[in-house]
């Protein structure tokens, strides 16, 4: 059977070019980058070269790049590190209601440690209003963390504006850019952020490796304690193959960004137009301020997990914010934050594209999905009631 992967917001395939770059660092150049001998020095060279490449993409100095184990660690470090380093200054943090759990659950933890958190609500498209952020700033606010783009509904947040507001008030600004790399231009000078998180596996790099960009001069408490790696700020033997892979992947992902994304966005638009033309299907997230690969819809009267399983049987990999898939039995906090009632949040479907998707993939989905929706609706008591009311 044809297998179509449209869950690229969850993770991506590592591109063959990236794997090829990584391979020598497992078996030939396997040294510990902290060792003094030449095997170690070779690893160190690769590590520093990777750091330079990442810095070139983000437009910062290599000394501002810290390699981590991924987006979640970067988010944890940014928030906990800033909260603990600024205890004397204050205990108030501002974030949004639609952040990734790596931010929200870290905030919940910090609340238990005595921090106070303001969760800025979003509008029906998932946008944070910068004026709301400004109004929430207090004298004891130490940090604002707003994501660059939402992982579920693809909405791109006005982070440049928010960063400017943060700085006007002397507050640090962090952004979780995990979904943004390779999708929109990410230049830390232009954004004006003090910290930025990213993760390699979202842009055809390996899993388990990420970056926290920390602007020079920003004080953060260490998160990982141990050896003196990453200039004494993040302990653990560097994952050299992973870091080399990350550097290659971020370079490839940000080359010809516009051209590549124009093609992906065109495919996405076919999905959005084709699917929202079906009855009782709505688009979630902003129509234009949107990641090029993100299509998130709610299909009324059916439930997301059943939809995902049917799609999987038809060879299509996707994801849903439905309660039944979350393990928590509540639908996604993002869908609730944009104001969807439970029943509609329940029937959500996210199809996320990358440059590995083709026109044939999109055609197949557009041909397959309507039949699946019809089958599930024919089994739905909600649809039956709705149709009877319509009569």
């Amino acid at each position: 059977m044809n297998r179509i992967y449209m869950d690229n917001a969850a993770t991506t395939a590592v591109s063959p070019a990236v794997v090829e770059k990584m391979l020598p660092y497992f078996t030939e150049c396997y040294g510990n980058a902290s060792s003094i001998h030449s095997t170690g020095r070779d690893a160190r060279k690769a590590l520093e070269e990777a750091r330079r490449r990442v810095a070139a993409v983000l437009n910062c100095s290599p000394n501002e790049i810290y390699f981590t184990s991924g987006g979640s660690e970067s988010d944890n470090w940014a928030l906990k590190g800033a909260a603990f380093a600024n205890r004397k200054k204050g205990k108030h943090i501002i974030t949004s209601a639609v952040e990734h759990h790596a931010i929200l659950h870290t905030c919940e933890y910090l609340e238990k440690q005595g921090c106070e958190i303001t969760y800025i609500p979003v509008d029906a498209d998932g946008l944070v209003n910068p004026a709301d952020v400004e109004a929430a700033i207090r004298p004891d606010t130490i940090l604002i963390s707003i994501m660059a783009a939402n992982n579920e509904i693809g909405t791109i947040e006005p982070i440049e504006e928010i960063a400017a507001i943060a700085h006007a008030h002397g507050v640090l600004f962090h952004t979780d850019a995990v979904q943004a790399i390779g999708a929109i231009p990410v230049d830390v000078q232009k954004i004006g952020c003090d910290m930025l998180s990213l993760s390699a596996h979202k842009f055809h790099g390996p899993k388990g490796v990420g970056v926290l960009y920390i602007r020079k001069g920003v004080r953060l408490e260490n998160f990982m304690h141990g050896g003196a790696q990453e200039r004494g700020r993040r302990a653990a033997t560097e994952n050299v193959p992973g870091i080399v892979g990350l550097a290659e992947a971020i370079t490839l992902a940000t080359e010809n960004l516009e051209e590549k994304n124009a093609r992906i966005a065109a495919l996405r638009d076919q999905l959005i137009d084709g699917l929202t033309a079906l009855p009782y299907v709505r688009l979630n997230g902003h129509r234009t301020k949107r990641l090029p690969g993100n299509c998130n819809i709610s299909v009324q009267f059916i439930e997301g997990e059943a939809l995902l399983l049917r799609l999987d049987l038809a060879g299509i990999a996707a994801s849903s914010g439905s309660a039944c898939t979350s393990g928590s039995l509540d639908p996604s906090h993002v869908l609730l934050a944009i104001g969807l009632p439970h029943a509609i949040a329940h029937g959500s479907l996210r199809l996320s594209l990358s440059d590995t998707n083709t026109q044939e993939d999109v055609d197949y989905v557009l041909n397959t999905l309507p039949g699946i929706i019809e089958t599930l609706r024919s089994m739905s008591p909600l649809y039956q009631d709705f149709m009877e009311e319509q009569k």
């Binding site: 439930e303 029943a343 008591p381 909600l382």
Partner: protein, 126 residues
């Protein structure tokens, strides 16, 4: 994460649909996740001669609905009332722990449909 039996009943659900002028209809909602199941019964001489269902819910909810209909078809009302969610789950070769609550829906929908029948037929004996 689902057994083969669950996937079989999910992809080819038995007895899906509705019964016109059913003798008993029960609709129940899952307090935990908001999912909904509806059961239709045809009853003759105290025996369930036909049963159909409609479900808005996850894969486990659909599979347990389907299995429950198979388990009560041809049974007496009394037997149907004795159906437990554990028995339905077992007949499906088990459910993941987080999905056990979905099978409750099936048990409750059968009970609600039988109760509806009893209400409409107060003289019926089980």
């Amino acid at each position: 994460m689902y057994s083969e039996k669950v996937m079989d009943h999910f992809s080819n659900p038995r007895n899906v649909g509705e019964i016109e002028n059913a003798d008993g209809v029960g609709t129940v909602g899952n307090a935990k996740c908001g999912d909904i199941m509806r059961m239709f019964l045809k009853v003759e001489n105290g025996i369930i001669t036909d049963v159909k269902f409609k479900t808005f819910g996850c894969g486990a909810a659909i599979a347990t609905s389907s299995m429950a209909t198979e388990m009560v078809k041809g049974k007496t009302l009394k037997e149907a009332l004795q159906l437990t969610n554990a028995a339905v789950a077992e007949a499906l070769d088990g459910l993941p722990p987080v999905k056990m609550h979905c099978s409750l829906l099936a048990e409750e929908a059968v009970k609600a449909a039988v109760e509806d029948y009893m209400k409409k037929h107060p003289d019926a004996v089980i």
